[in-house]
Amino acid sequence: MTRWIATGLRTGIKTTRFPAPAGLGDDGAPSAVACHWRRLTPATALAAAALCPTTAITATGSATSGELHFDLGACVLCGRCVREFPQVFAPVPDPRVAVRERGRLALHLRWDPGHPPAPAPLAQAAAVVRARAARLFRRSLHIRHVDAGSCNGCESELQMLSTPYVDLHRLGIFFTPTPRHADVLLVTGVVTRNMEAALRATYAAMPSPKLVLAAGVCAVGGGSFAGGPMTQGPLDRCLPVDVYIPGCPPTPQALLHGLLLAMERAEDVPSPGTEGDDGP
């Protein structure tokens, strides 16, 4: 046993700062794809939409005018758009991609002949602002996790949150084995027909106030399984969602950001993928 203790001590501190130091996210994996829309033409938008395997990029129109809808909540980070159109689509190393409103993951663009592209305001009609319970959870947070039908990639990253690299406990965040002690319901995976009842029962068993986090694009927007015959679709069709964390899977740093956002210990900024800055 003493040799184990010595091994532990020799390893020293491995915990990564959050957010990771400037430059690449320290785990080297992009957390999102950014659409640098000023460099986009309607023709490229159509080509990119044809290439994208999900509904993350959809476009209509002709070579001179049209519309583009870019939705990080559907992006599985396959990298195909980045490979084909590197001037327009770029990987985002910044892990702060989680948002409180689903619409903040999306970008809508319009081209009218003879005018530069303009981001169109998003229809926010359905956005219901929920009473903020988060202030209550600033100090500590107990998470109840439900796998509603994941591929286990999201669970694998959740398990990495407990390794010394992230060390969730130092931030006062814990997984709890009982819904009665839970502040947050963290859901991964597309909601399958076989899991829906258990998911709803867990939510019902949690005391109020409670928050719901959708982790991974399967939970955020259905991901690769949107429209599947055995799935009920994204989480917000079943439960009210407070924080959306895109990614397939979201990196541990992105998950951490989502949790801190839920606790109001991180700022709610638009996801870096949809800011529409001038790009690389």
Binding site: I5, D27, R144, H145, G149, G153, F175, P229, P252
Partner: protein, 515 residues
């Protein structure tokens, strides 16, 4: 070779046609199918059995067989006239779960199956079967008869304890019912299938390169291997050749995935026994492997790196030297931790005689992967059916016979060393830059693809139409085989508190099983 798979098939009355050097196909009439497959599954191994149903087409049954010592696969199929077929289970026990799956997913009745209860659709309302023809008139069998009563044990002090499907930590959804008399675990009943997403069905009609994304998402922790099995099936079906350089890169990435997954299994095993420092040490290694994967391919789980016809990852000068350094460091630390574990008797004591799966039982179920190799099943598709660049690598396939958690631990430890060895050998010859691959022209065809996933042999049978779209994809990942004897292993005189250890020692994926 005295008795090849081909000779055996001919002796069983089949006329196998080679579709590749290592793949034979045979068709036989419905009446003969069960007997012929049973005759072959005696000396050989029934690796898969599945149905294919599509609207306006007759249902088909397909069996995949292999023979120890022969590199070939044999794919036997038959066309069904009606909605029932003669069950293979009374003759071949390993067919049992496959037939239950065929019944619930396709609505075809295995006549003579001793207990054809639903396997994954326990809460399924009556209705057309999810993988059926989609044509409500054509499906003959009723969706679900009342489930066969689960065996129950009654007695003084015997109680039942349910667990799941929502688990206590960030784990996959599954439910277990423990029957216990105080502390001993008398029986465990499994409830799987909560995560059934119909991944294979969703791939139907998609171009192969889009279906590849679904194959990568069959399971996250074995994403690369399952996608590789799929991609290889597509390539073999359409006659696409892959460059030796791409094969080498694929091999390296597959081994990276194995090492990472094995480290994760060890981390969970250490945590389950309360050896938290060891758990943290292995957890650090897992994170380092994920980061190395991201540095090489842009994705921590290697998604997006595989192409139909090639690979999109390169390891040029500096990156390769960096990876070589990392591999050497991982090998050193893995060896150090291994010797520490060996000296930690409280750890070893928890594993010895825990969840014993006797070699005879492993044989009965045709177990694959590390769990099989810990129970004497000397099978590894990297060696038995060489693919990618494995023929060029030297590696040992560890086999143990104890069948307990300690044997499974041993196999994992030794396989990590073997895989790091493969990486060391292949990294030397890793080409400077990956060549870009033009998307190949795909054509109609059917073929089998396989890859040794971290949990064992992953199979994919893909049928492409003339446009290169997927007509049928059958995925048989390792967990589809290895869950079958799990409940039996739990019965070997264990305590309730051993369950986390048992679960971790098998390291079985639910997403792979549920699909």
């Amino acid at each position: 070779m005295s008795s090849s798979l081909r000779a055996l098939a001919e002796a069983a009355g089949l006329r196998p046609v080679p579709v590749a050097d290592d793949e034979l196909h045979a068709h036989c009439p419905e009446e003969e199918f069960t007997d012929r497959v049973a005759a072959l599954a005696g000396p050989g191994v029934l690796a898969d059995l599945f149905a294919t149903t599509a609207i306006h087409r007759q249902a088909r049954l397909t069996a995949v067989l292999q023979l120890p010592g022969d590199v070939s696969w044999l794919v036997v199929d038959t066309t069904l006239r009606g909605g029932a077929f003669q069950s293979l289970t009374p003759a071949v026990h390993a067919a049992s779960w496959y037939e239950r799956e065929i019944r619930e997913m396709h609505g075809l009745e295995p006549t003579g199956h001793p207990a054809p209860a639903p396997l994954r659709l326990h809460a399924w309302p009556a209705g057309p079967p999810p993988m059926g023809t989609g044509d409500p008139v054509a499906h003959v069998a009723p969706m679900l008869s009342p489930p066969v009563a689960r065996p129950t044990i009654e007695g003084q002090g015997i109680f039942q304890l349910p667990l799941g499907p929502v688990r206590s930590g960030p784990q996959e959804a599954a439910a277990f019912v423990f029957t216990s008399g105080g502390e001993d675990l008398v029986m465990v009943s499994l409830r799987l299938g909560y995560k059934f997403r119909a991944v294979e069905r969703m791939a139907e009609g998609l171009p192969a390169d889009r279906a590849l994304l679904l194959a990568e998402r069959l399971a996250g922790t074995s994403a690369f291997a399952n996608a590789l099995a799929f991609a290889r099936a597509v390539e073999r079906a359409a006659g696409v050749t892959v460059s030796p350089a791409a094969e080498r890169t694929r091999t390296c990435l597959a081994e990276l995935e194995r090492v990472r997954s094995h480290f994760a299994t060890l981390a969970r095993l250490a945590d389950a026994t309360g050896l938290l420092v060891a758990g943290a040490q292995y957890g650090l290694l897992v994170e380092e492997l994920l980061r190395a994967a991201a540095a090489l391919t842009g994705h921590r789980y290697l998604r997006g790196s595989l192409r139909i016809g090639g690979i999109d990852a390169s390891c040029d000068g500096p990156a390769r030297r960096r990876l070589q350094g990392l591999v050497a460091g991982w090998a050193r630390r893995a060896a150090g931790l291994r010797s520490l574990l060996g000296e930690t008797s409280i750890f070893q004591d928890r594993l010895e005689t825990t969840a014993v799966l006797e070699p005879s039982y492993a044989d009965l179920h045709n177990l694959v992967g590390p769990s099989g190799r810990a129970s004497g099943a000397d099978r590894d598709s990297r060696r038995d059916h060489p693919y990618a660049a494995y023929a060029a690598a030297r590696f040992a396939v560890p086999v143990h016979h104890g069948g307990d958690a300690a044997a499974r631990l041993q196999v994992h430890l030794e396989e990590i060393e073997a895989s790091l060895g493969i990486l060391t050998q292949l990294l030397d010859g890793w080409p400077e830059a990956g060549e870009p691959v033009a998307p190949p022209q795909l054509q109609e065809g059917v073929a089998l693809g396989w890859a040794e996933a971290p949990g064992g042999e992953a199979l994919a049978l893909v049928e492409l139409d003339a446009g290169g779209r997927v007509r049928r994809w059958r995925a048989r990942p390792p967990a589809a085989v290895n869950w079958h004897p799990f409940a039996h292993a739990c019965r070997s005189g264990n305590n309730l508190t051993d369950f986390p250890v048992i679960e971790a020692s098998f390291g079985l994926s639910h997403a792979e099983f549920d699909r």
